[in-house]
């Protein structure tokens, strides 16, 4: 895949083992995101934040330990950073699962009550497939942009990659608003009129726009 992007052999040699591990780690990350968004949609945005802090508290010190092989640990290089990320996300997932299974937040996961409900599954797929396609197309488009940039050399590709990071910085504020927003229309859905559902948005849109512009600039 990296070869298709036209990256140099040196970059591929460094990146491939890291990416292999990260792809495996997507399983833990995916479940963690699902659990976090479920809690966020129920109105508990604090627990997902704590789960995020757990990830960083583990990942930040563990990454250099595994990358450089400090304190007797093996020096794994870049794959060490991926391993630290996976371990951190697994611990975070365990924490979120414990919250859900204990019912100490707004949701209580009761496994014995699970049963397949084809109607709900159909409806979820109907609503969810465009969102999934949306995520996929964004990833594929980013790869396409990378493919176009790669012939301009490693320096241009590094600039492209760094602006992807910059985007993450710039979207800190709206991410928060998104989390805040998630439960608003959902919780109002069953009991309020459309105009009531739209009310929480009015101020948030202004705040989101201005806070993103501020955090980016």
């Amino acid at each position: 895949m990296l070869g298709l992007l036209g990256l140099s052999d040196a970059v591929i040699a460094q990146s491939a083992p890291y990416m292999r591990l990260m792809f495996v780690g997507q399983i833990a990350l995916g479940f963690q995101m699902m659990a976090g968004h479920a809690l966020g949609a129920a109105g508990d945005t604090l627990t997902p934040m704590k789960a995020g802090i757990v990830v960083r508290v583990i990942q930040l010190p563990l990454s250099p330990l595994l990358v450089f092989g400090l304190f007797g640990l093996p020096a794994l290089g870049l794959p060490g950073a991926a391993l630290a990320s996976i371990l951190a996300h697994v611990v975070s997932l365990v924490y979120l699962s414990a919250v859900l299974l204990r019912g100490s937040s707004r949701l209580h996961l009761v496994l014995h009550a699970y049963r397949p409900d084809p109607q709900i599954l159909r409806q979820l797929v109907r609503v969810g497939w465009p969102a999934s396609v949306n995520g996929m197309e964004r990833t594929i488009a980013q790869l396409s942009f990378g493919f176009i940039v790669a012939p301009f050399g490693d320096l241009a590709y590094a600039a492209f990659t760094v602006t992807r990071r910059a985007e993450m910085f710039a979207t800190w504020a709206p991410w928060g608003w998104e989390w805040r927003l998630e439960p608003s229309p959902g919780r109002a859905w069953g009991r309020a009129s459309p105009s009531v559902r739209s009310k929480p948005l009015s101020g948030q849109l202004v705040s989101a726009c201005s806070s993103t512009a501020a955090s980016a600039h």
């Binding site: 488009a141 942009f145 492209f160």
Partner: protein, 128 residues
Amino acid sequence: MFFFPDVFLSLFAREPEFLESARGWLYVMLVGYAVMGMTMVMAQAFQSTGATFIVMMVNLVTLWGAVPLAVVLARGTPLGDLGVAWAMVVPLLLRPFVFVPYFRSGRWLRVRLFASEPVRAAEPSRAR
């Protein structure tokens, strides 16, 4: 990032050639970041009420329209790799032109999420 780009970029690498190249990229992308927050929150609002299709379509059209534009700007103009950056900004600037009118129309509030949900009477949008 606008006022002190090198402070941010130095977190990743400090070679002058890299800083020179990345600074240009960052300035171009910042144009798009200015409106990105609004579209992100609107898209999330639409999706959380079940209006996922319009978000997909808008992203599909704008993003995939930008890919050929990136090729043209990067290879057919003196912009070089910065042409790709400009092409990436275009979708960010175009989306509000669809999302804001859709938000104002209030149609996203009348999407039926589940079949068992009663159809709601249309109300004029009071979104401000």
